[in-house]
């Protein structure tokens, strides 16, 4: 057990180290930016995994928190000096707002059953989108606005490293979170909420906690996203963002935490390469079709998501000796 754990962590550390030195060995800014983008969406997708994978909640309104982070950072940097401290403050502000809102929304909505809950979150985030659209003095509506990023991020490598650090930090924190006793209860809620209650766990609390954690992490992703663009508009609050997070999580494997990171990578890279192919081969002009086909194939070949399917295969291999009716052989005992 322990050694496997250490091996896994070892691989992770090597990977992170490789990613950290990457911008210094490669001078491809495109890659730096693409990776930054992947990291940001990884954070978002991991936050979604807390909901979907660990607590069994399908939310169609997750973009709401991403948007709050993005707007908090964008508005504060626009209104105050674009310094690092304002930036960090804005992240904190976004997280606090997201935490409070996800708390309130959670209390209001989490009593509902699956589909009804999902649609209610869609409604609430839809209302936030309208609010952002209408509150133009603050948000500039659909057109959005640009702002200055802290001088420090002029060098995109710095920003890349910051985002990578956030990703690693969030990953380890969330991993600890889901494998804590509280995380176990979240899984229990996912499996059988009513039974969790009768074991004496106040499931609503757990669901609210999960949605707050998810909301807060999503807000961080939003703040980073805003900085990466130095621009924000209402698109950060749209269903598209939620769907992206959802798809990344599912493709990578729900309830795996590392899966969403891989999912984010796969989706962003597939998009990148497919749209690149469009320029070379006319048949890829409609590359979006191939993108759709990837989703379909993913379900067929990786029904549990990439990580989930691989893990399952390993587990199967490990336990592959034909299982004889696990109970001890009565016949033999008696003889």
């Amino acid at each position: 057990m322990k050694t496997k754990f250490q091996v896994n962590n070892g691989i992770l550390l090597v990977l992170v180290a490789a990613l950290a030195v990457f911008p210094f060995v490669s001078d491809s800014r495109t890659w730096t930016i693409l990776l930054t983008q992947i990291f940001i969406f990884s954070i978002l997708a991991m936050s979604y995994d807390i909901l979907l994978g660990y607590t069994g909640i399908v939310s169609f309104g997750h973009a709401m928190f991403f948007g709050m982070g993005a707007y908090a950072t964008a508005i504060m940097l626009d209104h105050f000096e674009p310094t690092l401290s304002v930036f960090f403050l804005s992240i904190a502000v976004g997280m606090v707002i997201s935490g409070v809102i996800s708390f309130l929304v959670g209390l209001l909505t989490l009593r509902l059953k699956s589909h009804f809950f999902a649609m209610l979150t869609l409604a609430v985030s839809g209302l936030f989108l309208v609010l952002a659209e209408k509150w133009r003095t603050l948000t500039h509506g659909n057109d959005g606005f640009t702002f200055r990023a802290p001088e420090f991020f002029k060098d995109r490598v710095m920003f890349y490293l910051l985002v990578l650090a956030c990703l690693v930090l969030v990953y380890f924190l969330l991993r600890r979170f889901v494998s804590s006793p509280l995380g176990r209860v979240l899984i229990a809620v996912r499996e059988n909420e009513q039974r969790t209650k009768s074991l004496g766990f106040q499931t609503l609390h757990y669901k609210v906690i999960a949605s707050m954690v998810a909301g807060i992490v999503a807000s961080l992703a939003g703040s980073l996203y805003a900085i990466s663009l130095r621009f924000v508009n209402t698109s950060v609050l749209t269903m598209d963002i939620t769907l992206d997070a959802l798809l990344m999580t599912i493709i990578g494997g729900v309830g795996t935490l590392i899966g969403p990171i891989i999912g984010a990578g796969v989706i962003e890279l597939a998009q990148h390469y497919l749209s690149g192919l469009a320029k070379e081969y006319p048949i890829f002009e409609r590359w979006i079709i191939f993108f759709g086909i990837i989703y379909i194939l993913a379900v067929i070949f990786f029904p549990r998501g990439i990580v989930g399917t691989i893990r399952h295969a390993f587990w199967k291999r490990k336990t592959n000796e034909p299982k004889v009716n696990v109970a001890p052989k009565r016949k033999e005992l008696l003889k």
Binding site: S114, A123, L127, F291, I296
Partner: protein, 286 residues
Amino acid sequence: MELIINLLINGLATGMLIFLLAAGLTLIFGLMDVLNFAHGGLFAWGAFSGVWFYGLTNSFTVAIIGAILTGIVLGFITEKLIITPVYGNHIQQILITLGFMIVLSEMLKVVFGPNQIAAKTPPLLSGSWEIGDVIIIKYRLFIILVGILVFGIFQFILKRTKIGLIVRAGVMNKEMVQALGINIKQVFLYVFMVGAALAALGGVLMAPYSGVIYAEMGMEFAILAFIVVVIGGMGSFPGSLLAAILVGLAGSFMAYYVPALSLAVNMMLMAIVLIFRPQGLFTAKG
């Protein structure tokens, strides 16, 4: 007074139209519990193929039949290829149907070109009557009639036959239904095809309503349809009808009296309904 009547009629007509959009989803999502995000794609294909048939034959009847056939064929393909492997698994359903949705709407562009296309109202149904200050748009009356017809037919089928029961039982416990001697796979296939046909019908009827069709229309209206099915109470035709009319009327009256909130009206309606009736307006019965 005339004003109120106008708002009422138009709200009702819009509601009926929305009901037609949502009817297919009531079967597929409400009854079969399949989160079919490709529904909008089926709907858009109905609209495009209908307009194409109309252009070809100049007959709206042929257009409607053509659209329905398109829906049936696409429904067959969708169920066999996309849905069969993922029954009962919402997460996989989301991914695979979203993928298929992308394919469907891009294929529309391949087949019909990327531009929006004008959808003409058939002469017989175009124009409007004016009675005093009350304006009745003919096509809307037609929509109301079709809506009532579809509602009636499906109420009849679901009330008088076991099919609704079998589907709901199949969703709850597929093995047991099979053990009762019912080929549930086939039942699901047929119901899905009917749902797809209804989606296509919604599409072709929608086209002259707004006068234009475009590849992205599917997703836009699919969300509306999901809203209606959910606040109607999952799988209930009366529920969907009521919810759709509510959405139509709310839209119509809000746009007149509180225009500032009309962007938010659907979402507010849904939030209010779900907070006060967390199971939706109706529950599916028969």
